[in-house]
């Protein structure tokens, strides 16, 4: 039994938002009498944490505590339109819509605060802790809760905002393909080490190291969650997963998790990652999308590592043990031939 090791590398970029644009998302924000804010959306949380991320963006723009933000989403009766959760678009599209809505709501909030403080709204600032101050004047402040009470019960005003983010559609020229397809690009470079058992063709992924560049991170822990989960999925795609193991034949056809193989925890090494931040011009606070690209680097890096270990040329996925053995045999036949 021989075990051989190899390393592989892949550099990838990934567009943020739907290809060719034209995929709007809207947001509504209003203040309650108690001084917290409800962000109303129709975006869908698939587990990536958009309620958290949108609350952070709203709090940042409004200048109020994160804890005072409620994100209510995905009721078509109340939530303004969102194209959907895909295309690495939520942080960027929904995030930008929330920034716009929050800016409008903030303006209304500062106007009401100005009335209470007898100051011009331009002279006011928020401290992020629930207070509004007159710039440079110590002790002259009012709490967000007081502003809310006054707006509702003394001034009879709404403190609310609307946001709509749309990257205008850019059709592709049918002849040349000319278009403006994306809002920004995120980047990743993945390095993988594998060990291959040349007798069984089984591949063990020993190590995954990756650097990502995703613009300004809104929530680094959640970014890391995407990277680690995506690397695992990349191992699955590279080595195991297919609904048609005899592709293009339609049989055999796995119909359960016993036969549709994915890696388990045992097959998944520790993922080491580092994140660079090059803020995007168009992103909310410079953010780019990260949710999809996380599988794209590990897959070619793993296959490159296998080819490197064996000095073979495998160009398909999944690289099942059988694919590995046949590649080894082909190489032996060539060497002998």
């Amino acid at each position: 039994m021989a075990k051989v090791r190899g390393t592989g590398l892949a550099a990838v970029n990934y567009p943020t938002g739907m290809h060719l644009g034209g995929d709007p998302t809207q947001s509504l924000i209003h203040m309650t009498p108690a001084g917290d804010f409800v962000v109303t959306m129709a975006s869908v949380d698939l587990g990536q944490g958009l309620r958290t991320v949108l609350a952070q963006i709203a709090a940042e723009t409004l200048g109020v505590p994160y804890e005072s933000i409620v994100v209510e989403t995905a009721d078509t009766d109340t939530g303004p339109h969102c194209t959907g959760t895909f295309a690495s678009r939520t942080t960027h599209r929904a995030g930008n819509a929330v920034v716009m809505a929050a800016q409008e709501a903030r303006k209304a909030m500062l106007e009401a605060a100005g009335e209470l403080l007898e100051a011009s709204p331009e002279d006011l600032e928020t401290d992020g802790a629930g207070n509004i101050h007159i710039k440079g004047v110590a002790g002259k402040s009012v709490s967000v809760g007081e502003v809310a009470g006054a707006a509702h019960f003394a001034f009879g005003k709404t403190i609310a905002g609307r946001g709509a983010y749309l990257k205008p559609p850019s059709p592709m020229d049918p002849e040349t393909g000319a278009c403006d397809p994306d809002s920004t690009q995120a980047h990743a470079c993945t390095v993988v080490e594998v060990e291959v058992d040349t007798e069984t063709g089984m591949v063990e992924v020993l190590d995954v190291k990756a650097v990502y560049e995703v613009g300004q991170q809104v929530n680094p822990d959640l970014v890391k969650g995407q990277i680690v989960g995506g690397a695992w999925m990349g191992i699955g795609h590279a080595l195991y997963e297919t609904t048609a193991p005899g592709y293009p034949a339609i049989d055999p056809a796995p119909v359960d998790f016993q036969n549709y193989l994915q890696p388990g925890a045992h097959e998944t090494p520790e993922i080491t990652c580092e994140v660079l931040e090059f803020p995007a011009e168009s992103g909310p606070y410079g953010g780019k999308g990260v949710g999809e690209m996380v599988t794209n680097g590990p897959i070619p890096a793993i296959v490159n590592a296998i080819n490197n270990a064996l000095d073979v040329r495998i160009t398909e996925i999944p690289v099942t043990p059988e694919v590995v053995l046949r590649a080894i045999e082909e190489k032996q036949a060539q060497t002998q031939g």
Binding site: T176, P284, N296, I317
Partner: protein, 448 residues
């Protein structure tokens, strides 16, 4: 772009619903309970390509606990549809419930509603469909070769037709043939990805609940609530305001919950019976019926100089759409638009084709169109490095795009950071780079 001092953006504030998940308090679409709820199960095609001779639902109708049986004749609005028809992509090619022909194994034919999931399942199993089998085609290149049977009249050659009668989403930038003529090396290969299941832990499903105000509330795990609502209304020919879609907490998506596969027929069932209707895919349906990630086949031909500069890249790719279009034309455009990857190449030619086969329709998954592109390109980069005897890190850094470079789709690069990302990965992996490569940036003018 300079960023002002940030407060809560950039901070780790936890994830809001984690404690609810850990306590089991998160409410997913099927965690609501309604009395008198019916369950819907689908009778599906057993053949990958066949003429439907007859459909006999009498035994299903008579099966214990079966309340309602729906065929294409019961559809009040559209018989065929495409999710992007409303934004001008089409044609509408996919039957809601099959009639005349089936084009993939698993295609829905008859919906059966029962008092329990088991009553519906047993009833659906009793539907009798007589088929006249037709030859099937499963390979993308065979499908577009002359001898293959045409799946539908929309595409006589089994490939999608882009505007101006183009057979592919195409990129034409520079002159690849001239580039090949000038190149020191030609590097070519063929790449193949597989159909892959999104495999969210929660399968596709919804509950359609008629309300007292004549409206129907749909609890759904779609990835796009407005899209699903508007398409459901359009398919059924009813006013969108009759529908309220509630979602937002989903047990994983990964692109597998964008097809509006369960809502229209469930709403129709609710309209016909006046009762709540639940339609939940079994795991077997999720695996073999719901859209997979499209399989892609690519041929890449590169012209490369001795110093490592890639001077021409020609790509022909075939996206296996399965039997119907769904979002494939979008996926192939995204695929084409991504070429030639994070590299600046002066001559690029891409033909990205959508091909129809007798396979389950494919669709989006995490990185639609781009995953296959990145896979092929990054394997190709290693082949180039080996062919010309260059270090694979250096090859990538040399060719990586810089800000203000022109991309093949004729947009200038902005927000570039590929160079810095590769350099950081080299440091993380303990890979020494020569000084000139360490000095590269996304703002320099590259050697080529």
């Amino acid at each position: 772009m300079s960023i002002k001092q940030l407060g809560v953006v950039g901070r780790n504030v936890g994830q809001r619903d984690l404690e609810s998940h850990a306590r089991g308090q998160t409410t997913y679409y099927e965690d609501v309970h309604y009395p008198r709820m019916l369950h819907l199960k689908m009778h599906r095609s057993a053949e990958p390509h066949a003429r439907i001779v007859s459909v006999d639902t009498s035994a299903a109708q008579a099966s214990p606990g079966v309340v309602c049986v729906l065929t294409h004749e019961d559809l009040p609005g559209k018989k065929v549809w495409n999710g992007l028809a409303a934004v001008g992509v089409g044609p509408e090619d996919e039957p809601i419930l099959a009639f005349d022909k089936v084009r993939w194994r698993g295609e829905p034919i008859v919906a059966v509603l029962g008092e329990s999931a088991e009553a519906a399942r047993a009833g659906a199993a009793k539907v009798k469909v007589e088929y006249d089998p037709l030859p099937g085609v499963f390979d993308v290149e065979e499908a577009i070769a002359g001898a293959a049977p045409a799946l539908t009249a929309h595409w006589p050659r089994n490939h999608y037709i882009y505007p101006d009668d183009h057979a592919a989403a195409q990129i034409r930038y520079g002159d690849v043939e001239a580039g090949f003529a000038d190149a020191d090396h030609i590097v070519e290969d063929r790449y193949q990805t597989s159909p892959i299941e999104q495999a969210p832990m929660e399968t596709n499903g919804c509950i359609a609940k008629p309300g007292g105000d004549g409206r129907i509330t749909v609890h759904t795990n779609t990835q796009a609530v407005h899209f699903a609502r508007d398409n459901t209304a359009a398919i059924l020919g009813i006013a969108p305001g009759k529908l309220r879609f509630l979602g937002g907490t989903v047990g994983g998506g990964f692109g597998g919950k964008v097809d509006v596969a369960v809502e229209p027929i469930s709403v129709l069932g609710a309209m016909r019976t006046g009762r709540p209707v639940k339609f939940k895919y079994t795991r077997e349906e999720e695996m073999q019926v719901s859209s997979t990630r499209s399989a892609w086949r690519l041929y890449i031909k590169d012209g490369v100089m001795n110093d490592g500069r890639i001077v021409a890249r020609k790509i022909t790719s075939y996206q296996d759409s399965g039997a119907y279009l769904r979002f494939s034309s979008y996926g192939s455009m995204k695929h084409a638009g991504h070429m030639p990857g994070p590299y600046t190449i002066p001559n690029v030619w891409v033909d990205a084709r959508v091909v129809f086969t007798n396979r389950p329709p494919s669709s989006a998954m995490r990185g639609f169109g781009v995953m296959a592109a990145s896979f092929a390109i990054e394997l190709q980069m290693d082949k180039i490095a080996k062919t010309i005897g260059m270090d694979p890190w250096q090859l990538r850094l040399l060719n990586a795009y810089r800000n203000d470079d022109m991309k093949a789709h004729r947009k200038e690069v902005e927000d570039a950071a590929m160079v810095e990302t590769i350099q950081a990965a080299a440091r993380l992996a303990g890979q020494e780079l020569p000084a000139e490569y360490q000095a590269m940036t996304s703002w320099d003018r590259k050697a080529g």
